[in-house]
Amino acid sequence: MVDTGRHFPGRLLPKPVCPPKILGMPGLLAVENLTHTYPDGTKALSGVSLTLKPGEIVSVIGLSGAGKSTMLRCINGLIRPTSGRVEFEGQAVKWDTSSLRRLRRKIAMIFQHFNLIGNLSVLSNVLMGRLGYQACWMQALYRFAERDRQIAIAALDKMGLLNEWHKKARELSGGQQQRVGVARALAQEPKLLLADEPVSSLDPLTADTVLGHFVKIVRREGLAALMNLHAVELARKYSDRIIGVREGQGVWRGLPAELTTSVLRGIYGEEYGA
């Protein structure tokens, strides 16, 4: 009974009259009634709620512009929500700089366009994951503690990129670049991974390989992951639960097996599959 919104396939959630009682429940992440309106008046989120248990992999699907990316960025405070609450490990997220910095150590993010620094080596890019822990006096010198280096090297090894460590990030293929992105996220030693369209800029085959690799490691390390996915098949294949978002609201929650064509029409519109 964590997600009160578990409905049968094909039935869309009605707009909640009162927010579902999810705060204070044992879980890793709870998002309640999150809204965000951009300065230009665009309403990106209008009351999204979700929960995540430790070790759970949840996918968010929906049209481009449905608010998936904004929701992810509200969770680690890259975007400040207009209203609503985010709770991580039972603690309400505070919006001051130092609290956010501590929060972001535990929540890593993977991006659609990898967001690597092309001029720097693969290892340096992975070391960026340690910036949240870096000692003050080392900040200006591009130096990291030996412990940080060991963690970064281990993360590279997990993603099978050890031999590439000295290459410049921009010299790698798309699939390799995203694996560097994952290694950087793992180097943070996070509890939760947010993945914003992690494989959308890769070809279908590479996308499946990279996401499969990612999910395998998330499972092995017992981490939780919340991923925005474009490809419905990948969401079905790799997640424990799926959330459908439409026009800034959660409209469906269910298991991968329950994701039928009629459900997808409810999420993506009547044109889906037509």
Binding site: N76, L78, T97, R101, R102, L103, R104, R105, I107, A108, M109, F111, H113, F114, N115, L116, I117, G118, N119, L120, M128, G129, R130, L131, G132, Y133, Q134, Q139, A140, Y142, R184, Q188
Partner: protein
């Protein structure tokens, strides 16, 4: 005959011309005004190719001396040329030192977030614009009056003008960065300093280096001219030789300047290509 067949032609739809006739008339008027102004300018500038022919006679004597450069002064000129290059180097380094930190304060994408940031941005931008507006020649005249004749006023003039130029170029390359890595550093828990040092700096470093080399290159050429107002280097002596009608020495100086400037120009272009910032 077939080509003229009327049925094959498609008529263009009538385009909207709200100010049709008036616009055409105004355009003609502007064209006419420009031609008239150019004609007046020819008269005012006493543009007269015949004068050039008349001057050819006196040029023959000068040319006669110029083709026989006086190589005995070469060691002295080399020392002066070196002084010119050093002036440009120190001027450029001074400018880099000042404009590097300031350029971050003049980048829209870093500063426009807060009200205080906007104010700092506006002030630093204004400083850059003002410094650029002062030609190094004017600045050198001013500094020669302040600190006396020699290479030091030249260094100050080049440095100050270059702060404006480099500051503008640096801050514009900061504005052109990919915001993705910045977001990534923030998401990793990086603080403000780390975001700039690790997210912005690696992206702009090659451009900064290329702009700095290019600036040194320009400053070498400029510092030759600065010598003419007494701000050190080879330019000062070039003016002396011209005043004393010693065309054989002028010739040596010209050749040396040509060789050094060309060589450094190629070196700077090669370096910048290596940095991927041609």
């Amino acid at each position: 005959m077939v080509l003229r067949e009327k049925t094959a032609m498609t008529a263009l739809p009538q385009a909207d011309r709200p100010y049709g006739r008036v616009a055409v008339f105004v355009r003609w008027l502007i064209g006419l005004a420009l031609v008239t102004y150019a004609a007046l300018a020819v008269i005012h500038t006493e543009f007269n190719p015949l004068k050039l022919l008349a001057g050819a006679a006196s040029a023959r004597e000068i040319l006669g001396q110029i083709v026989h450069p006086d190589w005995s002064i070469l060691p002295q000129l080399l020392r002066l040329m070196n002084e010119t290059v050093e002036m440009a180097l120190i001027g450029t380094l001074l400018a880099i030192l000042i404009s590097f930190p300031l350029s971050f304060l003049a980048a829209k994408n870093l500063m426009l977030g807060t009200l205080a940031g906007r104010a700092v941005y506006a002030v630093v931008r204004l400083v850059f614009n003002v410094l650029r507006a002062f030609e190094p020649m004017l600045l050198a005249l001013l500094f020669v009056l302040m600190v006396g004749i020699g290479p030091f006023p030249g260094v100050l003039a080049l440095g100050l003008h270059s702060v404006g130029m480099l500051g503008k170029l640096f801050s514009e390359s900061i504005e052109a960065i990919d915001p993705g890595p910045v977001e990534a550093i923030q998401a990793c828990g990086g603080n403000r300093f780390q975001v700039i040092w690790y997210g912005v700096l690696p992206q702009v470093a090659p451009a900064f280096l290329a702009f700095s080399i290019y600036r040194w290159d320009i400053n070498i050429r400029m510092s030759i001219i600065l010598g003419i107002v007494g701000a050190g280097g080879i330019g000062y002596y070039l003016l002396q030789y011209l005043n004393l009608v010693q065309y054989r020495k002028v010739s040596t100086a010209f050749i040396l300047i040509l060789v050094v400037v060309t060589a450094l120009d190629y070196a700077s272009a090669w370096l910048r290509t290596r940095l991927g910032q041609a």
